[in-house]
Amino acid sequence: MTIPLRLSSIDANSVKSQLQQPHDHANLRRFESTVLVHLDAAYNLARWLLNDPAAAEDAVQDACIRAFRFFDDLSGPSPKAWFMAVVRNTCIDSLRSNKHHNAAHEYDEEIDGIAGAQVHDNPEQIAVRASDARWVRAAIAALPVEFREVIVLRELEEMTYKEISVIVKVPIGTVMSRLSRGRDLLSQQLGADVKRVSP
């Protein structure tokens, strides 16, 4: 099946020539104005991926150091996407090296998709809970990381599929299917009745 996605074309060369200059005194200023302006976005992603404020701060700090050292190599259409890719890599490394195995485990349809989505509450309880921020946060946190990251990047950071595909390093079609699946899982978690036509 082919998906007629609209690919936004951005002038990569202008960003690249603007950023690919040798180290000089203005380097840190330039890094601040092109990369560090996205510090909130970086922290938000790390916070949601790691589910831990302190770990998120550590990861963002490490990511900034990495990004600064690779700053000369910054290329591509979006400095924000480039920086977010570094942040995301740092978080994934952290998930792998620490004991966050629950969050980092590969997605398993049987275990996570069906068993994880069972909702036993009655409709009134669901309605109350759905308006409760803690319940929503817990539902997002319970998503497997590959769905959580695309949901956060799309819903909270409002990034395009193209940018998300660069950050997560998967094709755009995969971004789309992960978003669909992630939203289905979230809707199920939040008590909505998801009926999809089976192919």
Partner: protein, 268 residues
């Protein structure tokens, strides 16, 4: 427009990622189909719930100042000082020290490229070249290459297309092998630089993970066996043969990278 296709593209449509004419078709279908309209309503309700209840966390002010302080400490004056003095840390040493205290990923001592990583007099005399250790340069080049459109300059799965493309660009002949039987798809190649020398990157992929195979002339001329390492979380395999350095870099796990290196080195 069928229900299946409508529902497959529902998210891309609501996210504004579809071309207008396909969007029209979906909109038309949703207007006439209760099932698809219900999915659209659920998606809109989910979005409203997320916007109302899922916070976008802002970076704590202390984090911002900590990052700036750390970067200022890492920022060293440029190459104005004499490069041969041994007093005080050089730029690359200072950067390495700053990194050692701040980067959690352990850097692995790496024999094959380690011999190139210490800046000899000849290397530092060149003004504009990247003076970071080679393995760091390779990771940086790998990371940079993943941002389209820099990954591939000559897209082809045919080594007989890629090899002629190098002619006139470099004064060595890189190995370009078809490894599709081993599961590694040849994607293409591009020009690169490693420590100021002309290099090439031949790009393969396995299960959507790109692998950059960097190839550049070896100064020492000594062959060395493959060594595997993990640098900043990336898998690397490096060796030298026939007057060329080879280094494969990827985010695949070490086992897959080892298979890749073995496949490249296997006798034809």
């Amino acid at each position: 427009m069928s229900c299946i296709r409508t529902q497959q593209m529902m998210d891309a449509w609501l996210d504004g990622e579809l071309d207008p004419s396909t969007g029209e078709e979906i909109s038309h279908h949703v207007g006439q189909c209760a099932d698809c309209a219900a999915l659209k309503a659920r998606r809109e309700q989910l979005r409203a719930t997320l916007q109302a209840a899922a916070p976008r966390y802002a970076a704590p002010p202390a984090l911002r100042s900590a990052v700036l302080n750390q970067l200022q400490a890492a920022q060293q004056p440029p190459v104005a000082r004499p490069l041969t003095t041994s007093r005080g840390p050089s730029w690359w040493q200072a950067t390495a020290m700053a990194a050692a205290t701040s980067i959690v990923t352990a850097l692995v001592t790496w024999g094959t490229l380690g011999k190139l990583s210490a800046p000899s007099g000849e290397q530092v005399a060149l003004a504009d070249q990247d003076r970071r250790p080679v393995r760091e340069q390779l990771v940086a080049r790998h990371v940079a290459s993943l941002s389209a459109p820099s990954l591939i300059e000559v897209p082809s799965s045919d080594s007989h297309v890629i090899k002629p493309w190098f002619q006139g660009k470099i004064d060595f002949a890189p190995v370009v092998r078809d490894l599709s039987a081993q599961g590694f798809t040849l994607l293409g190649a591009r020009m690169e630089r490693v420590s100021g020398q002309r290099a090439v990157a031949v790009v393969y992929k396995i299960r959507e993970h790109p692998i950059n195979l960097f190839v550049w002339p070896d100064i020492s001329g000594r062959d060395s066996g493959a060594e595997l390492a993990t640098v900043r979380g990336f898998s690397m395999g490096s060796w030298a043969a026939g007057g060329l350095n080879f280094a494969a870099v990827s985010d695949v796990d070490a086992h897959d990278l080892e298979r890749f290196v073995m496949a490249l080195q296997a006798p034809r």
